[in-house]
Amino acid sequence: MTETLPQRTPDKETLARMFELVTAINLTDERFRTLLSSGRARSTYYSPKGQECISAAFGALLRPDDYCVTMYRGLHDHLAKGVPMRELFAEFLGRVTGTCKGKGGPMHVTHPASGLMVTTGIVGSGLPIANGLAWAAKLSGTDQVTIVNFGDGASNIGAFHEALNLASVWELPVVFVCQNNRYGEHTRYEWATSASQVAQRAAAYEMPGVTVDGNDPVATYWAADEAISRARSGGGPTLVEAMTYRFWGHIFGDNMRYMPPEERKAAMDADPTVRYRNWLLEHGHLSEAELASIENDTLAAIDDAIAFALDSPPPGPDELYTDVYSETVVPA
């Protein structure tokens, strides 16, 4: 898709699948922000808008039994890994029908049936856990791959380092996916990070590291494909850095004053969903009718899921005390 670089084009099915995922993320985000500003629902919300192509590319490649670990800014990863919208949105809204009965919330979505194993709110802490999942798969002799998503800011925390080293010495089937959106909360990448690119840190672990345009689903697809294939075939871990941008700042309600307006405008003008749609159309991969059909179906599914979530009750008071231990209920 990056016009200057000649590259292979995935098959139509894959292109369509990625468009479905990009669309699902893009439209869900739109709906969510409207829902929250209208006051019809309350949620802690870290918009992933701008980063949708990364999840879509990985989502098109991963199997349901592959493991995914992600973080508070995780809606795009959840959707791309196949977490069902109804349960997912219900979890965001704290309803008993949610993936975690409303007890985890957006920062802690878990859905083992679709391979979404952990969502953490602690920067960088998913990486060591991803190693464990990968180790389990390796010990069991399956060819399951584990991917773990994290931000550029997370590349400066201790857990990142410990995890990449261990993954390398143990040759684990894991893909470390750094979604570099140029900010950690309100702090610019350069202020916090001594490496020009996060991917260059892979060399410290003698692990392949690659930087890719994360707003280009096709480029990201091939980088993801290489990393996933390497992990699946016993070739060990890879660090993939996908360059991207957050359209809506850190958290819903962010004043975004620390983001230069020109920078943000440039990113939004190059909306990756729009670019991808245009490219698919221009190059004849999908017709306007096909694209519109995907969009309509997606929107219908989202609206259904939001209605489901809004109609669902909160967890009952007893839920406060369950799931603390494997025994059913603990005394208060």
């Binding site: 802690t44 704290g94 925390i157 909360e185 309100h186 008071p317 839920e319």
Partner: protein, 335 residues
């Protein structure tokens, strides 16, 4: 407060800003750093330090990478090197990634060096549930830090004390953990202008009373006052003691009050098992056993992680109704 002191209405966030501003102005050795604290990165995630890096320079008010061990470690080193650093750890749950620097180093270096290297740092942190931030951004972990010899720990219940205790912490020669109840940042109240110090180690009587002493700290003081008001209507006179400093605790104030009322209720948001309430309960029983009408009642969080759903979270959080129940229970007990 004397008549000369001017008082302004401020939010807790503003009161903290004020304390930081005055400390930075007063002593060039005072430094402030943590994630996002400088102006190019928005002046702190709660905008508390907005303007300070512009005023005092980015060498003194500095944004850091997301590296809590590096943050606390740098504070310790700079303190040993002669400075008074204030390190900000955004949420208290994140102490978990920096406990080694906090416990094994900040707290112990004075002792291990035989008194040579004191560590006059302040660690500011937001804590407490009620914002639907879930299990990893809502904990009150005062029980961890009050169990570590070498640390001092303070928690304010109102904007004025927030300013005064923070100021005391910054100029204290020991490492002080300043726990700031997150939800209180937007609560306002009267705050003395200019330098304002609330001494470390002194509790305050938030409301005098004679039937029962309700001992608490931080955000729960407000609810305790509400509970006391409700109970006054039932003819129960509640004395509310605001600890303000958890270590070193004002044991005298606690014991003096309970010796008078002969009944005590201890309240905190943190989970009950192993919470600071147990220490206070043990302390009171050890000292006043024969004078009590009944056992100290603890009102605290349930022994569960903090749930996300608003309905469950509000059940988790101790409120004035829970305190009312606790006080009634204490009052029903008679020897």
């Amino acid at each position: 407060m004397t008549d000369e002191v001017k008082v302004a209405k401020m939010t807790t966030a503003q009161a903290i800003h004020d304390a930081l501003d005055l400390a930075l102005a007063k002593d060039p050795k005072v430094l402030l750093f943590g994630e996002d604290v400088s102006d190019p990165s928005g002046g702190g995630v709660f905008h508390i330090s907005e303007g300070l890096s512009t005023k005092y320079g980015e060498h003194r008010v500095r944004s850091t990478p997301i590296s809590e061990q590096a943050i606390v470690g740098a504070a310790i080193g700079a303190a040993i090197g002669g400075y008074r650093p204030i390190a900000e750890i955004m949420f208290m749950d994140f102490f978990a990634v920096a406990m080694d620097q906090i416990s094994n180093h900040a707290a112990k270096l004075r002792y291990m060096s035989g008194g040579q290297t004191g560590v006059p740092i302040t660690i500011r942190t937001a804590a407490g549930a009620g914002m639907q931030f879930g299990a990893q951004h809502s904990e009150m972990l005062e029980a961890w830090v009050t169990h570590i010899p070498g640390l001092k720990v303070v928690v304010a219940s109102n904007p004025a004390d927030c300013k005064g205790l923070l100021t005391a912490a910054i100029f204290d020669d020991d490492p002080v953990v300043v726990i700031e109840p997150t939800l209180d940042y937007w609560v306002s109240g009267p705050v003395p202008e200019g330098e304002h110090v609330v001494p470390i180690g002194k509790a305050s009587t938030a409301r005098p009373g004679s039937d029962v002493t309700l001992i608490t700290y931080g955000r729960e003081v407000k609810f305790a006052l509400e509970a006391a008001e409700t109970l006054a209507g039932e003819g129960i006179s509640v004395e509310v003691l605001d600890l303000r400093t958890l270590v070193p605790m004002d044991e005298r104030a606690v014991l003096e009050s309970v010796a008078r009322t002969r009944r005590a209720v201890v309240v905190h948001q943190a989970v009950r098992r192993g919470g600071l309430g147990a220490e206070i309960s043990a302390l009171i029983h050890e000292n006043l056993f024969g004078e009590l009408e009944g056992p100290v009642v603890r009102v605290a969080g349930p022994n569960t992680p903090i749930p996300y759903a608003a309905e469950l979270e509000s059940l988790f959080v101790v409120d004035s109704a829970d305190m009312v129940k606790g006080v009634r229970k204490a009052v029903q007990q008679t020897r």
